[in-house]
């Protein structure tokens, strides 16, 4: 049974009815448990559990320190291309939006790489719009080969691909995939993805699993919070993460909590996700899956990001820009969405240290067969 079937069984579940049955005693019982099941996770996401945010946060903090220590891994996004063939109502790259479209040449990729590497970062997340004919898998592979000279880890957040395409990209040096389902609500998904290849719900839903099959080292998933009832969406994010981790134990599964941000276009969030909701999701996830990685990007502002460092976060972006070529002086394209935390890498490092945590810049070493050991030998 694939995750689509798992998801389908929950689509028919009446979440509101379930919510009515949850009592404070349920929450207290779950908080005493060491190992949580799916129902416990649902209980921790309930409105009743909102009263228990402090004990949940304390437990999440202890579990995170135990599992990951007092460390936060830093990375930055790098946009290769913003060409797009989709009409996703919530996205600034929507093909209907009149924005400056751009795709970096390999020389420009190298310039951006140098600029980012000079900030001291070793982990990179590469992004493109969804235009497979333009930012082809071969193009992404060539870019990765260039980037692999500068970074210990290159992850990609691009359109959904076939398993063999993921295999090829792993051979080029990609070691992580980020792909958000946006919404697990199939009907809503169809409604907001008006046109384009992304309209295929199931193909996207199964993409993380195809990446796991392709032996991608880290797979990061999430839902775009604000599109539908966050409790239902995040419950399914948790189930999806658990499904992948159980079926592909060799893969490091992580989740993100992207909250809808202002962007070019008229789309307004269907549901407002408050800070307290974000915290509830984060700590509930930590209690449900103590080993899962949790990423908070610069979609969130600096005050919120500082406050959630002790609550289960393992990875944060820094020095971010969502524009193609945004790290160099070359002409910048339109941003995909507005970022809320403009701190430089240096400032982020200082903030993390001030919070009693260690900013980690490198937590991987390329071990592919062609590794020339350059990264190890420089400076020796």
């Amino acid at each position: 049974m694939g995750f689509y079937d798992v998801c389908k069984t929950y689509q028919s579940l009446d979440f509101k009815e379930f919510e009515k049955k949850i009592t404070e005693q349920h929450v207290e019982r779950v908080l005493q448990k060491s190992y949580l099941d799916q129902e416990d996770f649902r209980v921790l996401l309930s409105s009743v559990a909102k009263k228990y945010l402090e004990p949940m946060a304390k437990k999440a903090n202890a579990l995170t320190t135990q599992q990951f220590g007092k460390t936060i891994l830093l990375y930055t996004p790098m946009y290769l291309s913003n060409y797009c063939t989709n009409q996703c109502l919530y996205c600034g790259f929507n093909t209907n939006n009149t924005i400056l479209r751009k795709q970096l040449t390999l020389d420009e990729v190298e310039k951006e790489a140098k600029a980012i590497a000079n900030m001291g970062l070793k982990h990179l997340l590469v992004l493109t719009g969804d235009a497979k004919h333009k930012a082809t898998p071969a193009y992404i592979g060539e870019c990765t080969k260039v980037l692999a000279k500068y970074f210990a880890s290159v992850s990609i957040e691009v359109y959904a691909m076939d398993e063999q395409e993921y295999v090829t990209l792993v051979e080029c040096g990609v070691d992580g995939i980020t792909i958000y389902q946006e919404t697990y609500n199939e009907a809503l998904y169809d409604e907001i993805h008006v046109k384009g290849p992304k309209k295929n719900y199931r193909y996207r839903l199964d993409a993380p699993e195809r990446a796991c099959s392709a032996f991608v080292r880290t797979v990061n998933i999430g839902a775009l919070l604000g599109l539908d009832d966050w409790r239902k969406e995040f419950f399914l994010v948790g189930l999806h993460a658990q499904y992948l981790q159980s079926k592909y134990p060799e893969t490091e599964v992580s989740i993100s909590l992207p909250r809808l941000r202002p962007h070019k276009g008229q789309f307004k969030p269907m549901c407002i996700v408050k800070d307290a909701d974000m915290v509830q999701m984060m700590v509930a996830m930590r209690l449900f899956m103590p080993r899962v990685g949790i990423t908070i990007s610069t979609r969130e502002n600096s005050a919120f990001r500082n406050n959630v460092v002790p609550l289960g976060v393992t990875k944060m972006s820094a020095g971010s820009t969502t524009a193609v070529g945004g790290h160099t002086e070359c002409e910048k394209s339109e941003a995909q969405f507005e970022i809320s935390d403009n701190r430089s890498v240096k400032e982020m490092k200082q903030s993390i240290i001030a919070l009693g945590y260690q900013p980690v810049l490198k937590d991987w070493e390329k071990i592919d067969k062609d590794n020339s050991l350059d990264s190890c030998l420089v400076g020796k």
Binding site: K70, R217, Q245, G356, K362, S375
Partner: protein, 264 residues
């Protein structure tokens, strides 16, 4: 006094070690704590994940916090199979980290349990290449025997899953390894309190390796000192041979006294 002065050293890979406490480098709020932790723990061996080493950035490289007299034990954290562990080990050696290697092959990201079969394969290859191989393993007698045959310099069974601080949950299995395997048995993972380390040493473990219990405590330097004392106490107790444990009090009026020759 002479029995106290007797030399008690642990020899691994030809190196004599006075301390039987090995420490790690992960999970610290600041790597700058490492030198003091090393000093207060008295540890002479420290394990570092190759994935965390950044040779292009000497200022921020974790290695720069490790004094030269301390034996570096690079580990293969992140390896999902023998092939990846072998490549990481070779990278570590080429990078100048020496020829000691702690093999961690973990294909289970939920419990972080080691893959015995892949660990044996990696041990065999790396031992032949001249590495001093210390494999992390589940305490399974047959796996330990295979690791010994494959050329391991010691075996490192887990007391409980990594980072759990749950103590010696696998005590009976470790006891069997201590009895049956002619190599140093170094208890690795799961030790959460000094008393756990002391218990492992009392039963005859050659050493303990731990990280989370020190790094994730509120006062890592103080905890390092506590572990130093615990490991030393446990070792001394093992050498002194603890007294017999009995479930019953010794009867003051023995039942078979009537068989003894009667006093005239």
């Amino acid at each position: 006094m002479s029995e106290i002065k007797d030399k008690d050293v642990l020899v691994i890979g030809g190196r004599e070690l006075k301390s039987r406490l090995f420490v790690g480098t992960g999970k610290y709020a600041s790597d700058a704590l490492i030198p003091e932790v090393l000093e207060q723990s008295g540890s002479e061996v420290i394990t570092v994940a190759l994935r965390r080493m950044d040779f292009n950035n000497p200022k921020d490289n974790i290695i720069s916090y490790i004094p030269e007299h301390v034996q570096l034990l690079p580990n293969t954290s992140g390896a999902r199979n023998a092939d990846e562990a072998i490549r990481i080990a070779r990278l570590a050696r080429v990078a100048g980290c020496g020829n000691w290697i702690k093999i961690e092959v973990i294909s289970d990201n939920k419990y972080l349990l080691p893959d015995g079969y892949e660990t044996i394969k990696a041990t065999e290859v790396l031992a032949k290449e001249g590495f001093v191989v210390l494999p992390y393993m589940s305490p399974d007698l047959m796996v330990a025997k295979s690791l010994a045959d494959a050329g391991a310099a010691a075996v490192m069974p887990l007391g409980a899953p990594i980072g759990t601080n749950r103590g010696l949950k696998t005590k009976e299995l470790i006891r069997i390894l201590i009895q049956e395997i002619p190599l140093p048995i170094i208890v690795d993972a799961g030790i959460g309190k000094p008393s756990h380390a002391c218990e492992a040493m009392e039963m005859g473990a050659a050493a303990c390796l731990l990280n989370t219990a020190i790094a994730a405590s509120d006062k890592p330097v103080l905890m390092a000192q506590a572990f130093k004392n615990a490991v030393k106490a446990g070792r001394q107790a093992y050498l002194a041979k603890t007294g017999k444990v009995s479930d019953e009090a010794q009867a003051s009026s023995p039942l078979t006294d009537f068989l003894l020759p009667k006093k005239v």
